[in-house]
Symmetry: C2
Amino acid sequence: MERPGGRTARVRAAVLRAAGDVLAEQGFAHLDLSDLARRADVGKTTVYRRWGTVTAVVTDLLAEMAAESLPRTETGSLLGDLRANARLVRATLTDPRQGPLFAAVIAAATCDDATARALRTFYATRIAEWAPCVTQAVARGEVPEGTDAGEVIRAVSAPLYYRLLTGAGDLGEEVADRAAEAAAAAARAGVFAAGAAGGINTASGAR
Amino acid sequence: MERPGGRTARVRAAVLRAAGDVLAEQGFAHLDLSDLARRADVGKTTVYRRWGTVTAVVTDLLAEMAAESLPRTETGSLLGDLRANARLVRATLTDPRQGPLFAAVIAAATCDDATARALRTFYATRIAEWAPCVTQAVARGEVPEGTDAGEVIRAVSAPLYYRLLTGAGDLGEEVADRAAEAAAAAARAGVFAAGAAGGINTASGAR
């Protein structure tokens, strides 16, 4: 006899792994609960009862990915921290499984509100994890008071996702380093400080 | 009697408008040549003979959008030029028709190579149009020699597309202005100059 928690966790892991496989190999449109049950070797009834919709599976997958994403690196400088972050994002987006998976989820989010919400929650978790590297840089005097941590972290990710999604060139490590350097330079210049860009500071770190 | 050129151009305009409508309202998956013919009030045979595939219609639509996109603004300063560019990108992405249309084409490009190629061509055209604002800034001594024009222009667009696609907050005008300021600050700091970011300069302006 096995504890129910163990079996539940195993079922979840198997179904989410199957969902990740389908997303990475075929895209969101090919997700199907019965197919996931078959691939995960789990009863169809269990899958329908536990998740009910394909979007619920994707939401759960993103929650798992957010929970399992690597903790923040602390290097002692803003540029060092942002570079570590950029390289982590780059490693994810160039991973043969994770890259297509993210592209598929982002594509699905363009036409599915629940997936879009799950994606926003994923990024909010990630940004909350990395935001302290900016608040520490403020405390060290590297960047101005009032620098918006979330905006700095997003500025690091944006060029990497842009490249992934618009196909503008390879995603080499030097692209990650340049994204970090650009975000750090802009942060040092006060671009992300409250009052910059027309005096409106719209973004909070946890959004 | 009408000149054949006139009719051909009218057919193209009607079919591309119908394709844009479907993309903006329903997404790539709902594009169908027979349906486009009906919406455009054009013979099905004409549409099949002229385009043949849905992807060919999207490629043609992107070519038309690239040809019709507004010419570059010249303000006399890099920041002014980049701000004009950022506001143009922002206006496109927040347009009720163009925003969903771009999201749909980018989503389609994640799983369709021909659409991905068409999208790359669209961005290459746009970047070639705006690259001179960086080369002029180099000539004025605003940014270092060897600054990669394409990378600067992409740095302006990236945060706006990232926000569109990951749902990270609104796309207000202050977001566009901040994207321009961040790119200009990074360019002035030499981040996009040859030799920066590990000594490798991978991106050319026309890519």
